[in-house]
Subunit: 162 residues, 2 copies
């Protein structure tokens, strides 16, 4: 990572790994959840992660590079945390609330990274790649808001009732 | 993690680990950074992490528990990412920009977790503990805004100039 361009590429590879890891984990998270709205939101998000991976491939191409994934240690840790929650709890609203906190941490990480990458790509004059990742950023923000408004309220109500 | 109370305690232990890990890492991050404002912000944040750890101890006490740390896998991954940036780059604005992205990911994680814990502690009627963590949350938000406004602008200017 000597130049600004190297750094942008490093973080792009990181995100490409992250999106594919999320795509793989979502069905497992959905089957561990109890709340129907939460399960549905997780499964619906699989398509979004596929589209994001596609956008990332196009962003690599816009930079004249081939898409390549590089282990994103932060995402490995965030995923491990969700796995620990599943192993340490049974099906029900407590697990759902803990899993939701893990999923939101994953989404906030992804949102922060897309936001940084868009700013960096704009700074190095890579408008096409910036615009592709801006799409991912906006889709992630919409998905996060939906989780936060609908699913979180439902799960918290079950917790208080339970 | 059978009950809601168990879950809250689990995430509290996680945060106690995270704050102590951050406190330990900040001087290393500061010595790897070049930008003076960034170095200063990182070193000044050591005091804040000490205060947060103190608040967490008091929150444990308010719940009738002794403070205990439990490895927070997400924080391990987020720290590893910063370490990889340091190892993979030399002193200068490129490293500073990459490190800032890592530090902001750490802060966003911490902010999200305090926000969740405050909501959960309020839901189980633990007002004193909720109010202690609300203080941590607000301090972290102020520190994050400062990094975002001042340090990010300066580092980005150096990048574009360099």
């Amino acid at each position: 990572m000597k130049s600004f361009d190297d750094m942008v590429l490093h973080f792009l590879k990181d995100m490409y790994y992250a999106e594919r890891a999320i795509q793989k984990a979502l069905p497992e998270l959905a089957s561990a959840a109890q709340n129907d709205g939460f399960k549905k939101a997780l499964l619906e998000h699989v398509e979004q992660t596929k589209e994001n991976a596609q956008c990332l491939q196009e962003a690599f191409a816009a930079l004249g590079k081939t898409a390549e994934a590089m282990t994103c240690e932060a995402m490995v840790g965030l995923m491990q945390e969700a796995d620990d929650v599943i192993k340490g709890s049974g099906v029900g609203p407590v697990r759902d609330a803990a899993l939701l906190a893990c999923v939101q941490a994953i989404k906030h990480y992804v949102i922060a990274r897309y936001s940084t990458l868009v700013a960096w790509l704009e700074a190095i004059g890579q408008k096409e790649a910036a615009s592709l990742l801006q799409q991912c950023l906006e889709e992630e923000q919409v998905a996060d808001a939906r989780l936060n408004e609908v699913v979180r309220r439902e799960i918290n109500q079950s917790l208080v009732r339970g």
